[in-house]
Symmetry: C4
Subunit: 257 residues, 4 copies
């Protein structure tokens, strides 16, 4: 595996598809949103994205199975509306600058091949102030920005850097002749934030005229709040574990013989 690649389990034909991305990032806003959409829409997994720029470890699942870190692509056939959806989430993001550009480019290429002319990225932006907008939009298209304003979504202030896939997919979409927009939910950022994800999904549904029942998000929000303490502890423990591994690594190097 020398290059980022997308493996299709099924060759799906899609109608005016829209690619919607939500990878791990600030407050896990994008990933939570995509996972919820997948569940509610019963979207089907049809492709995997692998990259030699992802972190070099694997994860173990509940049954002892092993998974190389990757992205997941789902499709949803929109029986009533004009646009089918491609939903993307995954285990992580590319770890190098060149990797970030390569993954973004590969994804746009894939979506283009599936007939997409619009890319939507979902993420978080960090802001403590309660008065700040709950969702911000930035886009390559004036029409989309105007539509967003009408739908009550605030336009991102200038100078705001959008880091990683959520930014690069939007910035590079015009290279492929595609429009793109990014929705950023306000979050404190340091823990998974389903509240911000719900806000982002509400904005998304308005903009794309999607009908998705978001009420079950509230259950997730409550559960998230209960799990928060427990997760913090796990995160802390894992951090310690990784720190330790790094320390061992340094010591080990000295035993090479």
């Amino acid at each position: 595996m020398k290059r980022t690649m997308i493996k299709e389990k099924e060759d799906v034909k899609l109608k005016n598809s829209i690619l919607i991305e939500g990878l791990p990032g600030l407050g896990m806003v994008g990933k939570i949103a995509i996972q919820y959409l997948v569940k509610q829409l019963k979207a089907k997994k049809f492709a995997y994205l692998y990259s030699p720029h992802f972190p070099y470890y694997v994860l173990v699942n509940k049954k002892g199975g092993v998974r190389l870190l990757h992205g997941f692509l789902y499709y949803w056939k929109n029986e009533l509306g004009a646009n089918d959806l491609i939903l993307l989430t995954g285990d992580g993001q590319a770890q190098t600058i060149e990797g970030q550009y390569e993954v973004a480019y590969r994804l746009l290429d894939f979506a283009k091949g599936k007939g997409s002319s619009l890319v939507v990225t979902l993420g978080g932006y960090v802001e403590e102030s309660e008065g700040a907008p709950k969702v911000l939009i930035a886009s390559t298209s004036r029409e989309l920005l105007e539509k967003a304003v009408k739908a009550g979504v605030a336009i991102s202030p200038p100078g705001n850097p959008i880091v990683g896939m959520a930014g690069l997919l939007v910035g590079m979409a015009p290279f492929k002749g595609m429009e793109a927009l990014c929705l950023l939910g306000r979050t404190k950022g340091y823990v998974p934030d389903p509240k911000a994800a719900k806000e982002v999904l509400e904005a998304l549904c308005k903009l794309l005229s999607l009908r998705v029942d978001l009420s079950k998000m509230d259950v997730e929000i409550e559960r998230a709040e209960r799990m928060l303490d427990r997760m913090k502890q796990i995160a802390y423990k894992r951090e310690l574990y990784l720190e330790r591994m790094k320390r061992e690594e340094r010591v080990k190097m000295s035993y090479i013989s």
Copy 2:
């Protein structure tokens, strides 16, 4: 996008063109100088430079539009003189060693293709002492150095490292059979310094026999001084924001599941 590339909006024919570079760097001297030249000469934007070695985020503009970080190329047709100009500035510099060399090489290739045989880079050098020369020159050409001395520009002391594009473009120009020179304005370096940019532009105009009204720089210098405090605050806030994002990033990694 696997490689650095230059996209032309317009295929411009230029006469004995000179490439003048001023990317973000110490005191923003080069960028401020190029921006001023573009405005005064009413130079026209005709090409963009993109690179997978630029930072992996995008910027939002005043209207909510999204911009992938890139370089901007302008041309100016010199009706009265011998040399048309290509003016280059941009959002940032390549983030890796190999990226720096690749971008420099690509730019020289492009300028050569546009008939340039001379490359000029503008930047800053850090020096607190008020007695030090206001502008230093270094060059691949003895004739240019002699001309500079006659024009009252001091020659750079030996051993002085010139970092990034301002250095590499000069160092690599001979590979393409081109001459090159670098003008460095004395700056304290930590804030945008239009004073240093004006000094550099004065030296540039003398050396290239350009007639550019630099008086409007004084307005910018005053404004810069007034804005200084405000900018420092913004810079500080953004630094905090980025610091925070990094911290979140580390915590997030622990939630991958």
Copy 3:
């Protein structure tokens, strides 16, 4: 040398071979296990793995000879059983993300070419608690996991990251149509741990129905304990040495003229 490569001293034909990997890692568990297998089975060295992603230094052996860091591949012809073995260990691991993926891919490609359909990786996992399982398994195959459970090997808990070659070889094996499993011995991790290596070998022998006399491991375990103090001192000294070299490096840069 632009790419990772495997140099064969001898073109060996193998019967349903299994690749077993144990590179330097936590507690040196994998490397110690492979070195013991090589000795006990009198396996023969037949190939070397070189990579431009390994650390950029060489090691000096007892007679003043110089060795580029590399991986060693041994084969063992299994006269009585169904599967010949390819045993892999080495001086270190790739130092970059892309290097890790490249080395893993190259190894799987090689093993596939030698007729392997199963890959086993050996390593350590850090756990202080004496109550935790002595060996954990994770695998791409349900059958292998079930077999492991019957053999008394505990299944790895979910979320556990397996870092480096021990993880990537397992995660990437399915790309080559191969099955794979990873055995991790419990270790404190910061010193070579032949005890953990013995536990891992016991599990391995059960799972692969291998007959290897492990009694001589006890000698190594005792010796390891005696050597521990001495090794800690050497490690410490070498650490200091490397630290110092880095410091010099920085100073040296200033003398470039």
Copy 4:
């Protein structure tokens, strides 16, 4: 410039040439030794080595000229003896792992093309103790090691890592069917050390049966001692300067607009 390359000013035919390398490293031992050989033997510069893996800055010379960092290759025709020499020194070393391997490989390829079957690298090893050997040897060849012992050169203790070009050229020489040896002079490492360079040259001359007048080294040693204090001050100042540039760089990033 995408790859490391060697540019020849002159196509020189050499007789059983030996490549002798001395790039900046611990105590500048290798570089000082090569510079002395070049002067004493009146060796002629005939080729340059450039690499996109070198640091991304340029240096200014005494007359304001600009130099891309590079390696210098000199040849010396040995009228009386069997082997012509290729002497290599330079401004610095590759900054990335892959770059180190690429530069070493390119150099061996070049030397092979010039008929070399032996490579010698010169460097320093850090050791405070006055009782330690003044020069250590490590080699790919038993004969050379035996010859060294007879000439009174101590064999390097095992486990000693030889970092950078001095190590990689020796470790990779066998890939090109070449023999190689490394001579390391004992140094404290943190300042240019012509004393250690002289010791290394004495060993080199014995091993290669070269006749070079080393008496003028003493002048350099004295001068070095006098210059020491002054150089330390310059090094310190430059360090501060680079530190500062890095700090500015961070601040500058905040002004991107």
